[in-house]
């Protein structure tokens, strides 16, 4: 089953860490990604640039409106994701539990991918 693992953390708190601590966390992320890839369950994954670089688009009066910032102000911000192919939810939970953002108070949201039947060609 495919799952999207959404990585949340408080950006301000993360930025306030010492350079050594930040470097250590980066190392942890590289190692984590390598482990995930080696397991064969890694499909995709990226880090996202900070929330200050976000742009949100909505419709107003039928016309697209573009606004600086995320879709909503939240205490924790989306910082990255992994798309994995795991046998079941427990396997996805196991991967989520090892993510380097957790010790600092971050969280991971696990969403199963909506699989559509491909239309017969």
């Amino acid at each position: 089953m495919r799952y999207l693992l959404l990585i949340y953390g408080n950006e301000q708190a993360a930025a306030a860490k010492s350079p050594e601590a930040q470097a250590a966390e980066m190392d942890a992320w590289w190692k984590y990604t390598a482990d995930l890839q080696q397991s064969g369950q890694h499909l995709a994954g990226e880090a996202l640039q900070p929330i200050a670089t976000a742009t949100t688009v909505r419709l107003a009066n039928g016309r697209p409106v573009v606004v600086d910032g995320p879709f909503a102000e939240t205490k924790e911000q989306l910082g990255g994701y992994y798309l994995i192919d795991a046998p079941n939810l427990d396997a996805a939970i196991a991967w989520a539990s090892k993510m380097p953002n957790l010790p600092g108070g971050g969280s991971v949201e696990i969403r199963p991918i909506m699989e559509f039947d491909t239309p017969a060609s």
Binding site: M1, Y3, P87, N88, L89, D90, I93, I110, P112
Partner: protein, 422 residues
């Protein structure tokens, strides 16, 4: 000659949990398994009055249900993969019985264990866990569960539907947890069973029978867990705790529906068989040398239950056990109970000192039992004004008729005593 319909219903109710567990494993789907079993039930009602109740009714129902599941899948035009899971028997016959009897009973037990852990998976919210557990392991109907928890039927129906959808959509696996997760997952299972018991314990005489019977249901689940996991001391501890509480249930409320405190209960009405069984389980569990919160709570309950009169209660032991409990599950409420035990063992002023710490009295300000306990201890110390204030606060916080009557009576008794002093 037993009425065939009664036999079918009796067998159905008794065997439901076992059969559904293995069906869910075969079908990989809660709804399909339930519907197939319902079909088999209807079939049994149709056939058994004529052909008689079969020697192994559970096996008959299981085979029939598997066949009905194949039918349903066929009608839904699902792929060959699912056929393979169910085998190709279409009617209960020699071959089917052979296949079923081949596996030892232990695979049936493993299935029920898998089912329990699936129903209590942390990815499901607590209400969903409770509803699913009662539905699939308890065999209660959706209507019965709704009445038991004082919730409208459609709401309970929705809860069950959403829970099963979540299991399917999120890929919650049908398996017992791996070793390193077993302890925390087991704690969740035990918490669900304990919650069901407490819901029943809180039921009043006027409530639906099914609600009052939740205690019996919880004990049945506890027994099932103890049979499936006899080497888990916390499982034995929980069953012991349920039995020991249940032993006193008859004495808890007076004929007028008022709460009767432990020290005032008629101990002759306590169920001695349940007390004996519960006490035995506590001993067995503690011998395994892996203490835990349920074992400790059960040990405390056992000490209460073994005291022939309130005066013979071993309060120092109980106070010590509450300290141990605090090391496992620290909470202001555990501290409150410990303080009450300390008061009984060593004097009201010591108990009061423990209660009047900010982490207890401060945190529990909205908790009426804090104030009734303070009131009682202050009363024993003849600090009438403060006692009255505490009881009054308790009255403000309580909506329960039986409790309010009790506190009002305490206030009245105390005013009389205060009057005698002046």
């Amino acid at each position: 000659m037993p009425n065939a319909r009664d036999s079918v219903e009796h067998v159905f109710r008794r065997e439901y949990g076992r059969i559904i567990a293995s069906l869910i494993r075969a079908c990989g789907d809660f709804d399909l398994a339930e519907e197939a079993l319902q079909d088999a039930f209807v079939q049994a009602l149709d056939r058994w009055p004529e052909s008689g109740v079969p020697e192994n009714p559970a096996a008959w129902l299981t085979t029939a249900a598997r066949a009905r599941a194949i039918d349903r899948l066929r009608r839904a035009r699902v792929g060959a993969e699912k056929y393979a899971l169910l085998g190709e028997q279409t009617t209960p016959g020699e071959g089917a019985f052979a296949m079923l009897n081949q596996g030892s009973d232990s695979s049936l037990e493993d299935d029920r264990l898998r089912l329990i852990f699936t129903c209590c998976h942390p990815a499901l919210n607590l209400e969903a866990q409770v509803a699913l557990t009662l539905r699939t392991l308890g065999g209660l109907s959706m209507a019965e569960i709704a009445r038991a928890f004082l919730v409208p039927e459609p709401t309970m129906g929705q809860r069950l539907v959403r829970a099963k959808q979540k299991i399917r959509a999120a890929g919650i696996p049908y398996q017992t947890p791996p070793e390193h997760l077993l302890a925390e997952r087991l704690a969740a299972v035990l918490a669900v069973v304990y919650l069901i018991f407490n819901e029943g314990y809180a039921a009043s005489a006027g409530d639906d029978l099914i609600r009052r019977d939740l205690c019996g249901e919880a004990i049945r689940l506890g027994r099932l867990l103890a049979a499936l996991m006899p080497e888990e001391p916390e499982v034995l501890g929980l069953l012991a705790l349920l039995l020991l509480h249940d032993a006193r249930r008859g004495a808890r409320l007076s004929s007028s529906g008022r709460v009767v405190l432990l020290e005032a209960q008629d101990r002759a009405t306590w169920d001695q068989a349940a007390i004996e069984e519960g006490s035995g389980l506590v001993e067995r569990a503690l011998l395994m040398r892996r203490p835990g919160p349920y074992q400790v709570q059960a040990a405390i309950a056992a000490l209460h239950a073994q005291a022939a009169t309130p005066e013979q209660t071993d309060w120092p032991q109980i106070a010590a056990l509450y300290s141990v409990l605090a090391s496992f599950s620290p909470s202001p409420i555990v501290e409150l109970n410990r303080a009450a035990a300390v008061a009984m063992a060593y004097g009201a002023e010591f108990g009061l000192a423990l209660i009047d710490r900010p982490e207890v009295a401060g945190t529990l300000e909205q908790y009426r039992w804090l104030h009734t306990t303070r009131g009682e201890l202050l009363r024993r110390l003849a600090r009438w004004q403060e006692a009255a204030a505490a009881y009054t606060r308790a009255l403000q916080l309580s909506e329960n008729t039986a409790e309010r009557a009790f506190v009002t009576q305490q206030l009245a008794t105390m005013r009389t005593a205060a009057g005698k002093d002046s």
